[in-house]
Structure formats: C-alpha cells, structure tokens
C-alpha cells in the first residue's frame, strides 16, 4: 500500500513537473505539449479504436516472437548444457 502510494506520488510529481515545464515555455509547445493535450489525444484514440487495434497487432507480434524464442531457447540451452560439460565427474551424461 505504501509502495503504491509512493508510485502515485512519483507520477504526480512527474506530471506536475511536466506541466510546469510546459507553462514556463522552456521548449516550444510543438515540442512539448501540455499533459491535457496528450490526455485528449489518448481519449480520441481510445474512443475511435485505433489504439486498441494497434496494441493488438503489436502484442500479437510480440507474443508470437516471444513464444518462438522461448521454445528455441529451450532447445538450444539443452545443447549448451551438454556440449560444454566435459568434466569426467559428470554423472548425468
């Protein structure tokens, strides 16, 4: 609970800093938009479904690749283990 509150506090401070940097006009508003603009963009993207679709596509790619990688790694590490173990005391092989 305390950890959660700390995380919330951290993000609140981060957003406050961001807002401050926007208001202080350190960078042009084109380079650093306000948090509200970003929130608005996110809202439109969520409501028209673009974000959801893009996320699904990305996650599908990621998951397929990840599973292939895990299976391949399982096979490969099996070889790693047996190829390098040349100790005579190895009871397994």
């Amino acid at each position: 609970m305390k950890r959660f509150l700390l995380a919330v506090l951290f993000f609140a401070v981060l957003i406050a800093l961001w807002e401050w940097a926007f208001l202080a006009k350190i960078w042009s508003p084109v380079l650093l938009p306000a948090p509200q603009q970003v929130a608005e963009y996110l809202k439109t993207v969520v409501t028209d479904g673009t974000l959801f679709q893009a996320t699904v596509i990305t996650m599908r790619r990621l998951l397929i690749g990840y599973v292939i990688g895990l299976v391949g790694a399982g096979c490969l590490s099996r070889f790693c283990g047996s190829a390098k173990r040349r100790r005579p005391c190895s009871l397994l092989w």
Binding site: L32, V38, L42, R61, I64, L70, G72, A73
Partner: protein, 135 residues
Amino acid sequence: MLFVVVMGTLWSVVIATDTGVRHVPPIYRRAALTMGSKRLHIWLKVILPAALPFIVSGMKQGWAFAWRSLMAAEIFVTILTGFGLGQLLHYGRELSAMDQVIGIMLVIVVIGLLADKILFSPVERFLHRRWGTNP
C-alpha cells in the same frame, strides 16, 4: 519483425538457462541419482526446479529486450500485416504531433508495467514462496 523479437528473446533466455543449470549444486543431482532417478526425470524434477529462478529472470530480461526491439523495428519498418504502436509513434513524429508521440510513449510504459504485473509477478511470488525468500 518476428526475427527481431525472436533474437531478442532467444539469447538472453539461453544464457540464463545455461547459467541456471550450471549453478544447480551437483549434490542435488547425485542425491537424485542415488535415489534411483533417471535422466529425463532428473531434468524435469531436479534440475529444472532448481534452475527456475535463473530461467524466470532470463525470461523477464528476454521480454524486455523483445519489447524494446519490437518498438524500434516498428518505427523503422512499416509492413503490410498491420499498423502497430511503433508505427503510430513514427507517424506522430513525421507529422510533428508530439501529443501523439508522448501519448504512445505513455501507452508503451503502461503495457510494460502491466506485462510485468500480470505475467511475471505471480511467477516470482510463487518462486519466493517456494524458496523461502519472502520479503
């Protein structure tokens, strides 16, 4: 795309698994052999559980590598199978729509956090309980 993700995952999991298997105390294996355990049985019931913390950390690292390199790949390459988050990021940059870029950045952060919480947190909690390293 797929290649990048697979390459991101593969090596870190291989290295972690290899380290994990090497770091299993030999006494476990010998004890299992003494008690009449055979090769496959040793692999599944002795070595694998003993190496599991390493394997899980390798999987976690592999996930992080895969996620980052997939984002980079999607920014560089637009392919026909669909329009992913990286492409949204890229077109935001091309159109100088920084609100889009920062918004997608936030989405990427949130997905990373959620993946950690949903995929890896339960496994790690299980491991901590099993190994008695509960904080």
